[in-house]
């Protein structure tokens, strides 16, 4: 099962990437890891436990994805000091058409019935840590092209600014977007939480995820293993798979290039 997923992932990723204004990648394994950290073990007969926990586990995993969508659309549904609509997210966070992957991070992460305990500043720190990303990306390994912070709840602008200042010290942004933060502030909090933050990170670190995907794909594709399942479907051509693979390579190259980008010598415009 794992092997064909790689093929599907490559083709659909590149298709989405080419046509979508921005893509929010989510990995089941990241979601499962989050759920596991939050879940409490059930004492029951073995078979009953497996079925119940597995079903509930998928529900819980999906609930994080739902939260991302709710947070992105919160500004459109409720009022706040700084409303951010989806057009603005795309405009501010996607500097090039193909650098359009925004890794979602969620904080706080807690079981719905637990009272909120995390301090606001801790939430801001958490939201960029590897354990809070919905895709297995270690943001510390890359350079930020831009970062979005969609804050919900009773949070003052000064709190947001203070945390941005603090995070900026340990975050590497690309040289031409050193101040590449986009903030949204919605007064209405998520259900059950006093305040929460959704981060959308456009980071070159995603290339490691793509490289892993490319490797798994190559292992199969080099032997043309399982390919006939796809080519037997009407409308699916071998060239499409080739093109998707090529596109993935280009994507990795683009992000790698930006990771090591340096400013050019000419820094000021001249009057011509």
């Amino acid at each position: 099962l794992d092997c064909t997923i790689a093929v599907e992932a490559v083709v659909s990723t590149q298709s989405t990437g080419e046509h979508g204004n921005c893509v929010l990648p989510v990995e089941n394994q990241a979601l499962a890891a989050i759920c596991e950290r939050l879940s409490t073990p059930k004492v029951d007969t073995i078979r009953h436990t497996v079925t119940e926990t597995k079903e509930k586990a998928f529900n819980r995993m999906n609930s994080f994805v739902a939260k991302v969508i709710m947070d992105i659309t919160a500004s459109a549904r409720f009022d706040g000091a700084i409303n951010v609509d989806i057009n603005e997210i795309s405009m501010n966070l996607v500097p090039f058409p193909r650098a359009n992957y925004l890794v979602p991070g969620v904080a706080p992460l807690q079981s719905p019935k637990m009272p909120q305990q995390r301090h606001l500043d801790a939430i801001f720190s958490d939201v960029f840590s590897p354990t809070h990303q919905l895709c297995r990306v270690d943001l510390r390994k890359g350079v930020f092209l831009s970062a979005g912070l969609l804050v919900r709840g009773e949070v003052a602008m000064s709190d947001v600014r203070r945390n941005i200042d603090r995070l900026s010290e340990s975050t590497r942004f690309i040289y031409w977007n050193k101040d590449g933060w986009k903030t949204g502030l919605c007064w209405v909090a998520s259900c059950g939480l006093r305040h929460s933050v959704l981060s959308l990170s456009n980071s070159t670190a995603i290339r490691y995820t793509f490289e892993g995907l490319r490797e798994r794909f190559s292992r199969l594709y080099n032997r043309r293993a399982h390919l006939h399942h796809y080519l037997n479907v009407d409308g699916m051509e071998a060239e499409q798979v080739e093109a998707a693979y090529e596109s993935l390579n280009n994507q990795i190259a683009l992000y790698s290039e930006m990771e090591s980008a340096e400013p050019l010598d000419i820094v000021k415009p001249c009057v011509i």
Binding site: N87, M91, W181, T183, P263, I266
Partner: protein, 441 residues
């Protein structure tokens, strides 16, 4: 976006404060009403001479629904709304909405102009960082220029927090300023950073940590604008005292040369309502502080360095050049009781404060108080340091432009790299012109 429209309301509120019946200066009230309002059909309520435009509906809808204590209201026929928003994209505002909404906006403007046969000056309130205020605002400026070419256009432009509200704000500011430099007569700039600091003065007990809402900042910006544009009389000795200074007189005085169009408004005193009863102001103090604010290009009366002063006032014989602001032109207005105008005037008449030492000062006064302040002094200047912020704007935006970052977002709506290059050229020239006003070290 959300907040810039609130300032429209606030400007009119300031002016309406002075038109309440029973106010002592009735000629002043009549002039204010004539300048900014048109009598309503019912004869009682005044209709603001304004057109409201936004590509989102919440703010304008809010403005239209308010009744302002029955004194004045907006004309719903003079409003243009949409529901989409411009997504912080200047090109979306300028090219896309500029085209699709042109007809509707044109109609709304013409409805207003129909009741204003003697229009001399149009004031446009907009922001430079977003998509609608900046892009569409520029397009509307051009539109009005086409419809009424003889009318002077003044754009009051809000510049965003330097720490960044929007990644592409640099581009949007560049495109806005460059466009307006070609279609508008004067740009009155308001920096969010400065107004936020200033707003803190109005709320007692506020520390620098606390959040100040846009509402307070807007109120201050509108006080500055209103204080300058409300009726005032000429105080020139050779002219008959009491000659009204019209808005076009102000603009023509402030912008004598097309290269220099950047203006800043300053006001003294800035105190909260609670503190007013405990504060005694004198014209000497107001004049002294507001001149120092001008010299240091500040809109706040704190942190002033009194040792920086005109050469003619320096006590030591070592008259090395100081970092003084130099004006192309200044306009000051004194409002309130017992205006000792010559005293204030003399402070601003110092030759060192002007380009090539040619004093260009217009003074106005009004016995009517502003916003219940016993004495208030407004300065609006076209001075060298108004162009100072352009340096950082140009270098930050140039880095992005060289990396080609975000450009495709603008290309989607019809802008190209040439348009950007042209904008860089225009703004670099403005920056250089203003820098050259200052004496060489």
């Amino acid at each position: 976006k959300q907040w810039y429209q609130r300032r429209v309301r606030a400007v009119y509120r300031e002016q309406s404060n002075n038109t309440r019946p029973g106010s002592s200066a009735s000629a002043y009230c009549r002039e204010t009403a004539a300048r900014f309002f048109t009598p309503g059909a019912d004869g009682g309520t005044l209709i603001a001479n304004a057109v409201l435009v936004d590509m989102e509906n919440k703010v304008v809808a809010g403005c239209l629904s308010r009744r302002h204590a029955g004194v004045w209201t907006y004309n719903p026929r003079c409003s243009v709304l949409s529901k989409q928003g411009s997504g912080n994209n200047w090109a979306n505002g300028y090219c896309n909405f500029g085209e699709t909404k042109e007809e509707e906006i044109s109609v709304a403007v013409k409805v207003l102009l129909h009741s204003l046969p003697d229009l001399r000056v149009a004031l446009l309130l907009m922001s430079a960082a977003g998509g609608t205020g900046s892009g569409l605002g520029c397009r509307i400026t051009e539109l009005i220029r086409d419809i009424v070419p003889g009318v002077l256009l003044v754009n009051q432009v809000v510049l965003p927090f330097s720490q960044g509200e929007v990644s592409v704000q640099g581009y949007n500011m560049l495109l806005t300023l460059s466009s307006l430099y070609q279609s508008s007569d004067a740009l009155l700039l308001s920096h969010n950073d400065s107004y936020q600091t200033l707003s803190r003065r109005l709320i007692p007990g506020t520390s620098s940590r606390d959040c100040i809402s846009f509402r307070e900042m807007n109120r201050l910006i509108s006080s500055h604008v209103a204080g300058v544009l409300l009726p005032a009389s000429s105080a020139k000795e050779e002219e008959k005292k009491g000659r009204l200074i019209h808005c076009d007189d102000i603009v023509e005085h402030l912008v004598p040369h097309p290269c220099y169009r950047l203006l800043t408004a300053r006001m003294m005193p800035v105190i909260s309502e609670h503190s007013r009863d405990y504060t005694n102001t004198t014209w000497e103090m107001l004049g002294k502080y507001s001149r120092q604010m001008l010299i240091q290009n500040s809109i706040i009366d704190e942190g002033l360095i009194w040792s920086i002063k005109p050469r003619s006032e320096l006590l030591t014989t070592n008259k090395r050049t100081q970092n003084l602001n130099v004006s192309v032109s200044n306009y000051i207005v004194c409002r309130g009781s017992e205006v000792a105008l010559p005293e204030v005037e003399d402070r601003f008449k110092v030759a060192d404060l002007y380009r090539n030492e040619k004093t260009k000062l217009l003074c106005g006064y009004s016995a009517a108080t502003f916003d219940k302040l016993d004495k208030s002094l407004f300065v609006i200047d076209n001075s060298a340091k108004n162009g100072h912020f352009l340096e950082d704007l140009l270098s930050d935006s140039w880095l992005k432009f060289q990396a080609n970052a975000f450009i495709y977002q603008y290309e989607k709506f019809g802008l190209d790299r040439e348009w950007f290059k042209e904008s860089f050229n225009v703004i670099e020239k403005v920056r250089r012109d203003y820098e050259n006003l200052l004496p060489k070290k």
